[in-house]
């Protein structure tokens, strides 16, 4: 199946000389939720703004559902909805007026029933006659989503969709994004909330300093790069690690009450059985043990730190 968004060698250097994007190549699959992770200033918003037509790329090509976004901008843009990071609203407009305006602006004929359905889905129907200035931040965020969905896009960009919203709304947003995906909408979201990507994404891209450093299925990524930790809770505290356990590069934690062993969960020989045998042999007693796996956040931090270290 051809990708629904195809980014080919896209770069962006601003007039100030700042290189916001190094050559980016990325294909987004139809119907997936793709999370673009990266620290502030990594180039996430620049990339989204280029795809949506707000920023002009310095070079490269982008295709949205087969349409090149600059030459063939009308059908390309008609497919795309954007929820920007900032809560930018015309404060004097009503919820209904601003949503129907967006639908018309994107070239769609009026459809009251469709707009009503969106507003109901987003729990905005009861507030449809209210001016935007009377809404809370969370409700305004919903209005931004309603506007982006008003022209029935098949590709939806969510730039930091849950920045500054409360936990309940965040959960609602996640549920909404899943419903949209179930209805065939491809979602590309940027976030620096790792748990958001971990919760929702099918695939993850990591961008840092304008460079796409990794694109991977979420599960594969966690599996591939995931480190596991074995923690042994000792019966008696230790002051130092016995030399007989030197091969395992253990760490002494919790004031000498715990021994921690980090290992590659996918390796053929993890070293766990031999470690446990050795510990028993030398007479070190432990009363409990547990294992933990690296979260996406650990992976992300290690990737970005590694890159920063490599380029420093």
């Amino acid at each position: 199946m051809p990708p629904i968004v195809s980014i080919k060698n896209v770069t962006k250097t601003y007039a100030s000389g700042l290189q916001a994007l190094k050559p980016i190549n990325l294909d987004i699959r139809k119907g997936e939720i793709f999370a673009l992770l990266g620290p502030n200033g990594a180039g996430k918003t620049t990339l989204i703004n280029i795809i949506c037509g707000i920023v002009t790329p310095s070079s490269g090509e982008i295709f949205a559902d087969g349409h090149e976004i600059q030459r063939d901008y009308r059908p390309a843009r008609a497919k795309i909805g954007l929820v920007p990071q900032e809560l930018t609203t015309d404060r004097f407009e009503t919820v209904w007026a601003t949503t129907t305006f967006s639908r018309g602006l994107f070239g769609r004929a009026p459809d009251k029933a469709y707009v009503e359905r969106i507003l109901r889905d987003l729990s905005l129907w009861d507030r449809r006659k209210d001016q935007l200035q009377t809404l809370s931040g969370g409700m305004k965020r919903r209005v931004m989503i309603a506007k982006a969905l008003s022209h029935e896009p098949t590709i939806l960009f969510l730039d930091e969709p849950t920045a500054g919203v409360d936990v309940e709304l965040r959960r609602d947003m996640w549920a909404l994004v899943r419903r949209l995906r179930d209805n065939g909408v491809t979602i590309i979201l940027t976030t620096h909330y790792i748990d958001e990507a971990e919760e929702m994404a099918d695939r993850i891209g990591v961008i840092n300093k304008g460079e796409l450093i990794l694109v991977e299925d979420k599960a594969t990524l966690i599996k591939k790069l995931g480190k596991k930790q074995l923690t042994l809770v000792l019966q008696e505290p230790m002051t130092e690690i016995p030399p007989e356990l030197g091969d395992w590069h253990l760490m002494l934690k919790a004031g000498g009450h715990e021994l921690e062993y980090t290992f590659d969960a996918n390796a053929e020989r993890t070293g766990v059985p031999s470690l446990l045998r050795r510990i028993t042999d030398i007479g070190v007693g432990f009363k409990d043990l547990n294992t933990t796996q690296s979260s996406l956040e650990d992976i992300f931090v290690s990737l970005v730190t590694e890159r920063t270290g490599a380029t420093a």
């Binding site: 601003y14 007039a15 703004n49 949506c52 037509g53 707000i54 920023v55 002009t56 063939d72 901008y73 009308r74 059908p75 390309a76 843009r77 008609a78 795309i80 954007l82 920007p84 900032e86 930018t88 609203t89 015309d90 404060r91 004097f92 007026a97 129907t100 305006f101 967006s102 639908r103 018309g104 602006l105 994107f106 070239g107 769609r108 004929a109 506007k147």
Partner: protein, 258 residues
């Protein structure tokens, strides 16, 4: 939808949105300018006009009507044209316009069309109001409408350029307040430039507004400071210059796109 088709839904959405804004702020967009112009009639028409003789065979109160309509057309067209595009820039909703499947020409048609419509309505309202104070005759109604429409469109387009250029409300006000209004006052709104001493008359001919007011006044009373063909050519010339500037703005993304 390809690049050659006309995106009527988008154009209509912007046009309707802008007209709705004018209705919402009717005091500012309609009532205030009509009231201000009525005050001009009271001051210049009734108070001063009663002490003046006729100008070019037209009673002074009637003579100033076309100039006063033009004064409002210039200022309101610039205001409407500039505010329409500046406000989305100011509040950040411009992202929606830039990401919509709409051509630059359609954006201009929608915003300038709405701004010009508001100005034309205002001009006709002022004309109606003026007819309550002084006798008015329109010798060439078709040319009166043509000048009204062309001037509204031209200055709305000029306002649109200002709205894109301006980076703050001060800049938005600067050109209309410091350049356009003085040129209008000095351009024969309240007098015929034939009443000026020869040197000042020559200097006045460098003021483009003279040609616009003169042509419009000709459509009412058949008298003008300069030939009507020159007036029409000057208005069209300014319109084309504005169109070229707008074309350049959208081609380069000046103050719109990074």
């Amino acid at each position: 939808m390809n690049a050659l088709t006309f995106n009527r839904h988008s154009v209509w959405a912007i046009y309707k949105f802008e007209m709705a804004r004018a209705l919402r702020t009717i005091t500012q967009s309609i009532i205030t300018p009509v009231m201000t112009t009525s005050l001009y009639f009271v001051v210049f028409g009734a108070a001063i006009g009663s002490r003046m003789t006729q100008v070019d065979g037209v009673p002074y109160g009637s003579f100033i009507v076309p100039g006063l309509i033009m004064l409002s057309l210039f200022t309101q067209s610039i205001f409407n044209g500039s505010f329409g595009i500046y406000f989305p820039k100011f509040v950040g909703t411009i992202y929606e316009l830039l990401s919509a499947p709409i051509s630059y020409l359609e954006i201009v048609v929608a915003y300038v069309g709405a701004a010009a419509t508001k100005s034309i309505i205002l001009g006709l309202l002022i004309l109606t109001t003026a007819s309550l104070f002084v006798p008015i005759r329109i010798l060439h109604p078709e040319w009166m409408i043509a000048f009204l429409v062309l001037t509204s469109m031209t200055f709305s387009l000029f306002g649109f350029i200002l709205g894109i250029w301006a980076q703050g409300f001060e800049q938005l006000q600067m050109i209309p307040m410091l350049i356009v209004t003085p040129l209008t006052f000095l351009g024969g709104s309240f007098y015929s430039i034939s009443m000026l001493p020869p040197t000042w008359r020559t200097i006045a001919l460098f003021n483009p507004v003279v040609y616009l007011i003169s042509g419009f006044r000709w459509s009412f009373y058949g008298t003008s400071d300069v030939g009507v063909e020159i007036s029409l050519a000057a208005t069209l010339g300014f319109f084309i210059v504005c169109l070229l500037v707008v074309g350049w703005i959208f081609k380069t993304g000046y103050r719109l796109k990074s």
